[in-house]
């Protein structure tokens, strides 16, 4: 099964409430995926700064701020949140920081990196995951959440969604891919690295690869329809965009709602019943094999 929720705000007045609305939507989708949950929140980038979200099984971030700051020779702040921590640093030092993390702190897993994105994901019930990371208190411009009922790989933190395989990019998935091993091999030859055996990570890397080659979000999503085989409803986030695509059979459910204030996605309508103005929103099911995306 799996549950997906997404919210792309058009009205800046709602931005302080993004986390609260998204967390409510996520918890409503608990019975579609009680194994694990994850959420990507995009906030307005601060000029010149970037963020890396890391995860440590033991939540051990002691000394990280000082050590990384010394290694980079710049200002670094580390804000722990339960098993995750957000590292804020100079935008030009992201690559150096990731190299340092790989060498010096292999116990830390990078969840996301970019100017706006933060990803939090863990094994457990969505309400517990949302509470541990204080999702409801977060502000932002858009966000995507996922509740997982695992089919293709183990129930682990790294197997939870969203998957992020490029700067400010993330993807969540309801379904299962049947050609992910072949696509993974092709992407590995092109230089992509993988953290898991998960099929969804391949879809995320596929999109990142397309965008690295110069494709826009919409074009990259179109390519999933020809190159990925299996069942999928994907919801994708970028720094300034939000997209949805379903495979041609489209048996994985999807409902969307749009008002002047937001575009919302839910695996089921009930995920969206708490949104402001939902009673008068335009509500529809995205067509099969059709790419929808919004960019600001």
């Amino acid at each position: 099964m799996c549950g997906i929720v997404g919210l792309f705000l058009k009205d800046p007045g709602l931005e302080p409430r993004l986390g609260e609305m998204l967390a409510d939507m996520l918890v409503t989708m608990t019975d579609r995926g009680p194994d694990s949950a994850g959420i990507a929140v995009y906030s307005r980038p601060q000029e010149g700064w970037a963020k890396i979200t890391v995860q440590s099984a033991g939540g051990d971030f002691g000394g990280l701020e000082a050590a990384l700051g010394t290694a980079l020779g710049g200002t670094v702040t580390v804000t722990p949140k339960d098993t995750h921590a957000v590292i804020e640093l100079d935008r030009d030092q992201v690559a150096a920081a990731r190299e340092w993390l790989r060498a010096e702190r292999p116990d830390l897993k990078v969840m996301s990196a970019g100017e706006g994105i933060e990803i939090y994901k863990e094994v457990g019930l969505p309400k517990d995951v949302a509470a541990r990371f204080g999702i409801a208190e977060m502000a932002g411009t858009h966000g995507i959440g996922h509740t997982r009922m695992a089919t293709e790989s183990a129930v682990t933190t790294m197997g939870a969604h969203p998957f992020s395989t490029g700067p400010d990019q993330c993807l969540v998935h309801n379904g299962s891919l049947s050609n992910h091993n072949a696509v993974r091999r092709t992407l590995k030859r092109a230089g992509k690295t993988f953290e898991t055996e998960n099929d969804t990570e391949v879809a995320a890397a596929f999109l990142s690869h397309k965008m690295e080659e110069g494709a826009g979000l919409g074009e990259a999503m179109e390519a999933t329809l020809t190159d990925l085989d299996g069942f999928f409803t994907f919801v994708v986030g970028t720094r300034n965009g939000f997209g949805v695509v379903r495979d041609p059979i489209a048996c994985k459910p999807a409902v969307m709602a749009e008002t002047d204030q937001y575009v919302a996605f839910g695996s089921e309508y009930r995920a969206m019943v708490g949104l402001p103005g939902i009673e008068t929103a335009r509500v529809w099911e995205p067509e099969p094999a059709t790419v929808y995306f919004w960019e600001r």
Partner: protein, 247 residues
């Protein structure tokens, strides 16, 4: 979750002869149990209304009594599934599998219906006043379905008997692997599925369609002369070895 006794105690909530059940307050199991109990203990309290649905699943499933139930708001999976005898009106849109495996009675959706509306239905009438998405009437076995809007891809897949009437358009692969269900479409058909062909509209079809439009609350909205009929070419389900290469 309340037991039926508590529900009855707390909610004699009859307004103008209508028994009103607040789904958010009283819960799904209490609602469905009360509806099922009607069969064993019938009364003249046959008008029901369900409010605060919020997209909940399995509303009014398995009803087997001549009740008139209005569901206010949008529903989740399987609303009115397995219905027998009852008239169930959804004053909103319906999630996947509305009226799935209906046996008899009538289900009316005022808004749109999600995928596999009326799937495997064996009897009764399903009216969808908006659009229906993919797989509408999949494996239908005697149900009549009237859709005022359009239907999505793979509708009437392996449909065995009954009638599907569509006032709008049909998506890809209409009637794939069809048995003996009759399909009437007024608008365009994006593509026909395997073994589904257009057939001649004979007098008995105009007559049947006129009746379906009347019962489907579409009288005056469309005229039988505007429809085309689709049915099985009967080359697939009666297996011919000569056709093996096309299976």
């Amino acid at each position: 979750m309340l037991h039926t006794a508590e529900l009855t105690a707390r909610a004699p909530a009859t307004e103008g002869g209508v028994r009103v059940i607040d789904l958010s307050a009283q819960g799904l199991r209490a609602l469905n149990q009360a509806l099922h109990d009607f069969k064993a203990r019938p009364s003249n309290e046959t008008l029901w209304e369900v409010v605060n649905t919020k997209g909940a699943h399995a509303i009014a499933v398995g009803v087997d009594a001549p009740l008139d139930i209005t569901v206010r708001g949008t529903t989740g999976y399987y609303c009115a599934g397995m219905n027998k005898q009852a008239t169930i009106r959804i004053d909103g849109s319906a999630g996947p599998g509305v009226a799935e495996n209906m046996m008899s009675g009538t289900v009316i959706v005022e808004g749109d219906a999600s995928q596999y509306a009326g799937a495997t239905g064996r009897g009764g009438l399903l009216v969808i006043k908006g659009n229906a998405s993919s797989r509408c009437g999949i494996s239908m076995k005697g149900i009549d379905i009237v859709v005022h809007g359009s239907i999505g891809h793979m509708s009437a897949f392996m449909a065995q008997s009954g009638n599907l009437v569509v006032l709008g358009d049909a998506g890809d692969a209409l009637g794939d692997s069809l048995y003996e269900a009759r399909l009437f479409v007024r608008g365009s058909v994006k593509s026909l599925g395997a073994d589904c062909i257009e057939k001649e509209m004979r007098p008995e079809h105009f007559e049947a369609l006129e009746d379906l439009l009347r019962r489907g609350l579409a009288e005056g909205k469309a005229d039988p002369s505007q429809f085309r009929r689709y049915g099985s070419a009967r080359r697939l389900y009666t297996f011919h070895v000569d056709n093996a290469s096309s299976y």
